[in-house]
Amino acid sequence: MSAATFLVVEDSPTMRQLLVFSLRRLKECRIVEAVDGVDALKKLTSERFDLVITDINMPMMDGLKLISLIRANARTKSIPIIIVTTEGAEEDRKRGLALGANAYIAKPVQPSDLLKAIASLLEASRN
C-alpha cells in the first residue's frame, strides 16, 4: 500500500489514539485527526484524503451528517468511508451504509478487521 492519507474522525482521545496506532501498521501512510464532524469538514476542504474513518456519536456534528455532506460534495463524494461506532444494531448498520458509508465496523474494533476493510476499499478505489 503506497502513501495513502487517512482522516480519522473520533471525539474520544483514547479511541482516536487506538485507531491511529492501528493505522500506523500500514507502511507509508499519513494520518490526520479530527475531533468531530465540523473539524473533519475543515480538514476535508484543505486537504485531499484517500479514506475517512469516522465515529457516529460526536458533538458538534455527528458522523452521519458528516457522511451525507461528504457525499454531497463533488470533490469528496468518491472518498471511501468507514464507520467505526458503538452502534452495532443491524438498523444502524443499514442506515450508515445507506447514507454512503462503504464499511461499517462495530466497536470494540479488531485492528485486523479495520486493516482488511481499508485494504479492500483502497484497492477498489484505485481500480
Binding site: S12, P13, T14, M15, Q17, F21, G88, K107, P111, S112
Partner: protein, 293 residues
Amino acid sequence: MNRSRDAGPQAGERDDLSARGEELRNMFSRARAFTEELLRENERLRFRVSGLQREMEQAATQGPAAGSPAVAQLQERVRDLEKERDELLARFRQVEEMNRSVAARYEEIDAQNNHLANLYVASYQLHATLDFSEVLDTVKEILINLIGAEAFGIFWVDERHHHLKTEASQGMGTSVPDKIRPDRGPLQRAAAGESYYADPLPDPAGVDAAHPIACVPLRIGTRVIGVIAIYRLLTQKERFEPLDFELFTLLAGHAATALFSSKLYQRSEKKLSEIQGFLDLLTAPSPPGAGAP
C-alpha cells in the same frame, strides 16, 4: 455340299480371326498370371496377419519379456520415482504443517499485538492528565470503546461512611443511586478487593445496580479506593474476551492510581489556591488611611 460351305472363309478373314484369337490367348494368359500373383500375395498376407495375431495374443498374455535388462532398468527407475514422489509428498505435508503452525503463530502474535496496543493506549491516556474529570472520562472511554460496555458505574469507596459513592455512570438511566451500601453480592466482594465476572452472562434485559455482570476493584496496593461495575455490554458484544480481562487488570491498578492522584492533585490545587489567597490577604499592603487610629 454346297459351294459356300466348301469354300469356307476367305484367307484375309482367317488371318484376322487367328490374330484376334492369339490376342485373346495372350490376354487370358496375363490374367491368369495376375490372378496367380494375387492369390500368392493373399496367402502371404494371411500368413502375416495370423503371425501378428499370435504375437499380439502372446504379448497380451505374457507382457514384455521379463528379465530383460531394459525392463529391469525401467522398473528400477519406476521404483526411484515412486520413492522420490513419496519423499516429496512427505516434505509437502511437513511444509503444509509448518505453514499452518506459522499462520497460527502469526494470528497469536497479531492478537498479542492488538492487546498490547489496547493496553498501551489505555495506560497512556489514563496517565495523560491530572484533571480528575478527564481521568474519569478516560476510564469511561476505555469501558465503552475498548471493552464494549453499554451500562456501567464508577464508584468511589467512602471509608468513613462505609458506602460506595457514584462518581460516574453510563447507560443506567435513573437506576443508579448516588450512594450504594455494599452489604452483599459482587459489589461487596469488589469493595473487599475481589473481582467478579458473571459466567454465563445473564439476559441483558434490565439494569439492577446491585447486580452487575462484572465488578473490578480499583486498588492501590491493598487498599480499595473504588469499584467499576459493568451492568450490560453493547448489543454486538456477546461475552468478555481475553483482552477484556487484561484491560480490567490494567484498570484495577492504573485507573486507581490515576483517579487517586488526580483527586489528590485537585485537592492540593484547591488548598494551594486557598493558602495563596490567605497569604495574599496577609501580605497585602494596607489601604491608605486604614492604619491604627
